[in-house]
Symmetry: C2
Subunit: 230 residues, 2 copies
């Protein structure tokens, strides 16, 4: 669908899993783009104009037209640069299942993971960690069914659900490091443990996956900032 010389910009921040989704999708499709780092404390005019409703990153700007919301960007990239392999499954049922789990991750699972850092007290934190683990058990089961023995949810290649889930791996590692808990590991989630390793090694992922050490530092920075403003 895409032809000739085109302008592709991505407004984002390095630590955001949602921004990472857009970057992985663009990498998979070998689309060159300008990455414009936003300062969320002082958002740029371009961001405010491009996403006036949510004022959030990521925003993909393709030939001056803005597209917002990470999974919508992934689908857009998949459809526009359609000569490369598709990220969404081709069969309608497989596609519905991939969308189902991506929506589960965003609406239920990730808000719980995020809540662990801000939990009030050890008791609340334990409950949230348990909920995250229950979610991972569901995802382990889903992985076995969907991947059918292949390395990725998308089969032999990274697909839509791999991107949706894999973009959280950095923050999963932060949670494991900071709170001394194992979330994805060989005994409880053997399939996901192998999947996560392969995902992080992938040529489309490696250049945009932040180092855990940097993310952990950023976590403490954010925590200090919120504590200060509370």
């Amino acid at each position: 669908m895409s032809k000739g010389k085109e302008e592709v910009k991505l407004l984002g921040v390095w630590a955001s899993p949602f921004v990472m989704r857009a970057r992985i999708a663009l990498n998979i499709k070998s689309v060159g783009y300008e990455f414009i780092q936003e300062n969320l404390g002082s958002k740029s005019e371009l961001l405010l104009q491009s996403n006036p409703v949510h004022k959030k990153v990521p925003v993909l700007i393709h030939d001056h037209k803005p597209v917002s919301e990470s999974l919508i960007i992934v689908e857009y990239v998949d459809q526009v640069w359609s000569s490369s392999p598709s990220m969404l499954p081709s069969h309608p049922y497989d596609r519905a299942i991939a969308r189902f789990w991506a929506s589960y991750l965003d609406d239920k699972w990730y808000p719980t993971l995020k809540g662990i850092g801000g939990a009030k007290g050890e008791e609340e934190r334990k409950v949230l960690i348990q909920q995250v683990e229950e979610g991972l058990a569901l995802l382990e089961e889903a992985y076995k069914k969907i991947s059918k023995g292949k390395p990725f949810f998308g089969g032999d290649r990274i697909g839509y659900l791999d991107i949706a889930f894999g973009s959280f791996l950095g923050w999963i590692k932060v949670t494991e490091t900071v709170f001394g808990t194992a979330l994805i590991e060989e005994v409880k989630t053997p399939g996901l443990a192998k999947w996560a390793e392969k995902f992080c090694e992938d040529v489309a992922v490696k250049p945009v996956m932040p180092e855990t050490k940097k993310l952990v530092e950023f976590f403490y920075f954010l925590r200090a900032k919120f504590a200060g403003s509370a």
Copy 2:
């Protein structure tokens, strides 16, 4: 994509806007289906087995395979019964825009509308009504841009975003009736007022759009039930 004799069941409840989305999509594609009314106070085994993660309606069961989440069902129906006109825009950018607003409706706008009924006191209710109206002003603007003078977001025919938004019209009318406020009307939202009328008259919508009077009764029933359990 679909061929021959097939079994299509929909698990739902009559008053749910999300269930209505699936029904409108099936009507647009002229797909016959068995509508199985669930009692949400005592969910059926079939529902619990078909949607074990959320245990929620709607669930479409197509040849024994369950698909959950209303907008995912709409996309699934669109792709499976692909010989009829498509509900999703064909151009990737138009598609991304339709998805953006559908996601805005579900994540931001509808939770606010829903909150009006449960507001604690007049002050909180006023704030929520104002937020709903601000959202409708955004949607009025989006309608003008997207429909380009045609009756629907989808152009001459009801499309994905029409279904996503139009399914809330019954509960918008309930809110207007119960709280004596005008939300979609000719002065503030002239485009949406005409659109809503056309939408409700459509042959795919009319048979599944509940009467406002019945929905209002159901609202008071739910309110009494929640007040009793509080």
